[in-house]
């Protein structure tokens, strides 16, 4: 597997890095993922706790939780998505600019959780393509941070240059 890591020794090579464009772009993207907290229910409280001082999501550059989709990279769907709310979630996803990722936090966002009822959408992946699923009800902040690190790994392995030229591939939603 070709590594996208940036590796150089400044004493040997000087202050100029020669590397792949992908490596640099992915490195920049993954270390400043700005989440759009779609905080719907109880998982939002754990999301807030992970942004607070004990589990400091700021270590990863992700403390900028702006509620504006235009300024964010990753939508963290935290909480139960009901059919009434589904439209809003999808619209906000559409308003986010490329590149964008989605993290389904918690059991309710992943599969509907313990709410098997008439009003709850059984998983947000019905309407948006999800990159990382986090299990837990609610997931501990450590679990969320682990998920964000997995997302960082996923971003690190993307072929960003190819996507820059054309439209970003999205998952096949008709399945």
């Amino acid at each position: 597997m070709i590594s996208n890591e940036v590796g150089y020794n400044s004493k040997v090579e000087g202050e100029v890095i020669v590397t792949k464009a992908d490596a640099v772009i992915n490195w920049i993207r993954k270390h400043s993922v700005w989440p759009m907290p779609m905080g719907l229910a109880c998982c939002a409280i754990e999301l807030m706790a992970s942004a607070a001082s004990r589990y400091d999501i700021s270590r990863f550059g992700m403390e900028v939780m702006r509620f504006s989709p235009r300024q964010s990279d990753c939508m963290i769907v935290a909480g139960t998505v009901t059919y009434k709310m589904a439209e809003v979630v999808r619209r906000i996803y559409d308003q986010m600019g490329d590149p964008k990722w989605v993290v389904a936090m918690g059991a309710c966002a992943s599969t509907g959780g313990m709410y098997r009822s008439y009003a709850v959408m059984q998983g947000v992946d019905t309407i948006v393509p999800v990159d990382v699923y986090v299990s837990g009800c609610p997931p501990r902040p450590e679990a969320l941070l682990d998920a964000m690190m997995k997302l960082q790994d996923k971003i690190g392995n993307e072929s960003s240059v190819k996507n820059l030229r054309g439209k970003q591939e999205t998952a096949d939603l008709s399945v």
């Binding site: 229910a41 939002a44 607070a52 001082s53 004990r54 509620f67 709310m85 809003v88 709410y115 009800c137």
Partner: protein, 411 residues
């Protein structure tokens, strides 16, 4: 306050549209369900005249999960996790309220140790909920630091809850007839230590907010609810008490042994946002007093109702070794705690207000109808009358001061 003259301006159901200008210069603004100030998924469809709000129509239901229908299909103990997720800032208090409702109908009384445990966790949940409420209220008014301070204290509470119940929040701790497990060794001194250092943290938050000129300007006189209005709209909890009505179910209809403890109930005078903030801060201090009293007089004895043979499962050692307890456990798990037919209504003083459960049972282990009387639902109903006349930036402060949770509002 100007009256509406022309046709209804409707934004339609398009969530992201920011504003639509109409011909008589009223602007329709949709503070959509995904918004940081709405504390969850509340949608406000408002009409503005410049900066002044003339009409406010809250739209709920974005978190309606069908809890009441689910309750008709679950046994009483199976429903306890759903009660956690009602007011998810103080899950233990919801658990206790639900357990007390079913126990009232079943006619069983839990022993003193269990009552003391329940009072203890209810007050800790109250502290947790008010800390978050006030931290986020400060954030709504523009102050970021109190949020960080209160969250640090809440993390200490979470550690205590995790030691007791296994989960940070969403604890599902109570069972019908008792609690899930007894308190671990050394837990009470840790709670006491937490209570000893908490007043210092509250003082820090108060130093930042209570006499802060900006905070006072933003909250004093805003969102004033009169006594009659509060009663007419069914408000309960700190919102009602800030308007000057002395209604605290822990004093008026004491449950779970609350009458043994001495504490004061803060009552406000003007019913504005500042009063609601002050009432909550003082309630935290009173909760610390109650916790100290509970720990000082903590009784021994059983932590579950030993007489409730068809309701509370016997301890694990007995189940594994004795036939009768094995069958008892089997019946309780599969059929559910057997509750006699009848109806009951019970309200507990939750941090958000009075959380009530109306339970209709036709016998057996599954409820026939469970209505959850959510305090946030009733607290929010006043918005239509309260908000018009205020300016747009007052919305965040009013919503923050009402301290509601959409999880219990929509159920």
């Amino acid at each position: 306050m100007s009256t509406l003259t022309t046709k209804e301006i409707s934004v339609g159901d398009i969530g992201a549209r920011a504003a639509v200008h109409s011909d008589n210069e009223r602007m329709a603004l949709n503070v959509g369900p995904s918004h940081p100030t709405t504390h969850g998924v509340l949608r406000l469809m408002m009409e503005l005249d410049g900066d002044v709000i003339t009409k406010c129509d809250p739209v709920l239901g974005y978190l309606h999960r069908g809890d009441e229908k689910i309750a008709e299909n679950m046994t009483y103990n199976q429903f306890v996790p759903y009660t956690d997720r009602l007011d998810y800032l103080a899950p233990l208090a919801n658990n206790v309220a639900y357990a007390l409702t079913v126990e009232n109908l079943a006619g069983i009384e839990v022993p003193e140790r269990c009552q003391a445990i329940r009072v203890l966790v209810c007050e800790m949940a109250r502290i947790s909920s008010h800390l978050l409420g006030m931290g986020v209220f400060g954030m709504d008014a523009g102050a970021w630091t109190p949020f960080m301070y209160t969250f640090t204290e809440r993390e200490k509470l979470y550690t205590l809850f995790e030691e007791l119940t296994g989960a940070r929040f969403t604890t599902s701790y109570t069972r019908i007839g008792g609690v899930a497990r007894d308190i671990p060794d050394g837990w009470l001194p840790r709670v006491e230590k937490f209570c000893d250092q908490l007043p210092k943290a509250i003082n820090e938050v108060e130093k930042l907010l209570t006499r802060n000129r900006i905070f006072l300007d933003r909250t004093e006189g805003i969102g004033a609810i009169s006594k009659d209005q509060a009663i007419a709209y069914g408000l309960t909890g700190p919102n009602l008490r800030a308007s000057g009505v002395d209604l605290d179910l822990r004093k008026d209809k004491p449950y779970s042994g609350y009458d043994q403890y001495e504490f004061d109930v803060p009552i406000g005078t003007k019913g504005d946002c500042y009063d609601r903030y002050l009432v909550r801060i003082e309630e935290v201090r009173q909760s610390i007093l109650i916790i100290k009293q509970v720990i000082a007089s903590f009784p021994g004895g059983p932590w579950y109702c030993e007489d409730a043979k068809k309701i509370f499962a016997p301890p694990k050692e007995k189940i594994m070794t004795s036939m009768e307890e094995l069958i008892q456990n089997f019946m309780i798990v599969t059929e559910g705690p057997q509750v006699p037919p009848g109806e009951v209504y019970f309200e507990a003083e939750n941090p958000k207000g009075a959380l009530g459960f109306y339970l209709v049972s036709k016998g057996g282990g599954v409820p026939y109808r469970l209505k959850i009387r959510a305090p946030s639902f009733c607290n929010l109903s006043i918005l239509e009358e309260l908000v018009p006349g205020h300016m747009l930036s007052d919305i965040t402060v009013i919503l923050g001061s009402l301290d509601f949770v959409m999880g219990e509002c929509d159920r």
